[in-house]
Symmetry: C3
Subunit: 253 residues, 3 copies
Amino acid sequence: MIQITDHGAVRELRLNRPPANALSPDLMAALKQAIEAAPGENALALVLSGSPGMFSAGLDVPLLLTLDRAAIANAWQALYTLLRTIANSPIPMAAAITGHAPAGGTVLALFCDWRGAATGNWKMGLNEVQVGIPLPPLILGALRRLVGLRQAERLGVGGLMLSPEQALHVGLVDEVVSPDQLTSRALEWCTGLLKLPRQAMSATRRQARADLIELFEHDLDRELSAVTASWWSEETQSTLRSLAERLASKAPR
Amino acid sequence: MIQITDHGAVRELRLNRPPANALSPDLMAALKQAIEAAPGENALALVLSGSPGMFSAGLDVPLLLTLDRAAIANAWQALYTLLRTIANSPIPMAAAITGHAPAGGTVLALFCDWRGAATGNWKMGLNEVQVGIPLPPLILGALRRLVGLRQAERLGVGGLMLSPEQALHVGLVDEVVSPDQLTSRALEWCTGLLKLPRQAMSATRRQARADLIELFEHDLDRELSAVTASWWSEETQSTLRSLAERLASKAPR
Amino acid sequence: MIQITDHGAVRELRLNRPPANALSPDLMAALKQAIEAAPGENALALVLSGSPGMFSAGLDVPLLLTLDRAAIANAWQALYTLLRTIANSPIPMAAAITGHAPAGGTVLALFCDWRGAATGNWKMGLNEVQVGIPLPPLILGALRRLVGLRQAERLGVGGLMLSPEQALHVGLVDEVVSPDQLTSRALEWCTGLLKLPRQAMSATRRQARADLIELFEHDLDRELSAVTASWWSEETQSTLRSLAERLASKAPR
């Protein structure tokens, strides 16, 4: 589910779970494991990429709708654990957002060091509210550090989806480049960091990302309980079921 | 003093205290009451608007200059209570800034969920310092969450007034639209939120605005005492009296 | 080393240590003294300027490489003391960034009230990491309040140098003006503040800059120990020596 390619010292982790790279518990566990394994296998930086036109569709809602309470709690725990792993990565991690990235797709990128987006007719954003899920505080916190309090309120409450250019304008991504250049630009961004004096870069990186890591030092057990409880609310369940039906009707037979 | 119009589930509160919608203690009390009454009268969102070309001139300085110490303390208390009511509104509230909005005019908008400004030859901003009033910490705090620390320092210390376009550029407003479209755009923004799953939107809104509400959890009695004391300083009194004289000389006889 | 010119109530402090206004312990002490003396000598505002095309090259690395451990500790202490003096200046201080301003050159400007940059083919930025120095937390903190968390991470970890226009875009400077207009624009900015009701302006300024001053209330002794220890690391020493050799080879014989 993760296609690994080493480009010199930079390892690319390409999400590869057709058709939409939706985040199943298995994919999240595999991605976490791949990120954790990389430094021990001589990778000095990571690029997280997706398929052309589709970075990740976010949580696999149709699959999650088949799970019971314990499994849903585990799925959210897997997402939080994955995000913590990205935030704590000892080596820099660039997101090459190759295309569509609703909700969880954008969430992964929030916790990386750098975000590049491919030009194209697709959208990204934290549309959790649109699908009936209150934006979890951890994710709002990570959004705020990228775009500030005002835009985080505007984007989060409205569940807005943005074009790559709009995402650049508000700071949700750092660069927009053509699809055929995106991976090489992400690799170049990584190698740029790796040319710097390593200890100075790493120490500054730890300092500059300490506020991101601190987000995980709140009472996340309590937050996860609230997030999981909310999942089972009538509003969330009915909205997610409508979404799953729309997805099913659009899927090829 | 408040003209109430229901547009479906969105209630418009139009400031209507000629000639300049200046904030008298009575107007502030009436606005607070109207905001608090709305949810119980089936309004699901609010639009705060003003007169064409004149949103609100801010605190009614000529009137306030006639008040004694107890009444001035009450006037500032009324402003803070109004701002707390806006910040805590359980339903979203959009500001349709129809025109001139110095000081208190802009302050009202800071605490709303969204700010739209009409194009036109008018200014908005926190020019308290220009008229001899140190910018109260509560207001600086609300400004900071919209425009960031650097711009809040620049705008607040200099008491700068901005055109609608300049306000958009720094994030003091979210959109600039033509005067004849402004109210309908504000209504549209509200109905956009109301189409979202209600609990998810409201929970995310509470989370995203919690930092605004926390501003009121500081020791505001102490802050109000300092603000009131400062009102009676020689510098503030002489600056406000000069302002009132200028306003009187420009008023129609 | 500091050329003092009074323009009415605004005192210009022009860095004057050829060839590059590099920050030696002596220059830092002289600048601190000049800033502290100004209010007692009737200055109501300050402009900090440099040479045409060269604001300040930052810490005088070739000189510092000749110092022993005690002297290096003193040099860093002198920088922190200077920055604290700028942050705490009771009168407004504008930076007229006349040209090249790597590392310490930009750092001085971060703590001023306003930053204007001359147009031209030069760069500014916090390139500490490029020269092997982890960006000190105090400096990262001051950077964050100007450009936000995302840009501070991007600029600080990458040690990026920016053109004046790029610096304006991210908020590292407030205005870009032609070199022949820069000092007069900085003076004008100061006189603009001085026309405001003095107590209201000063009280708002204290409030708006309190977060900058709070940066100095952390355990700076511990931070300075870490910064000094890092200076003597093998990576930092070898990177600085390479830099000094490059500078020497470019210097006129």
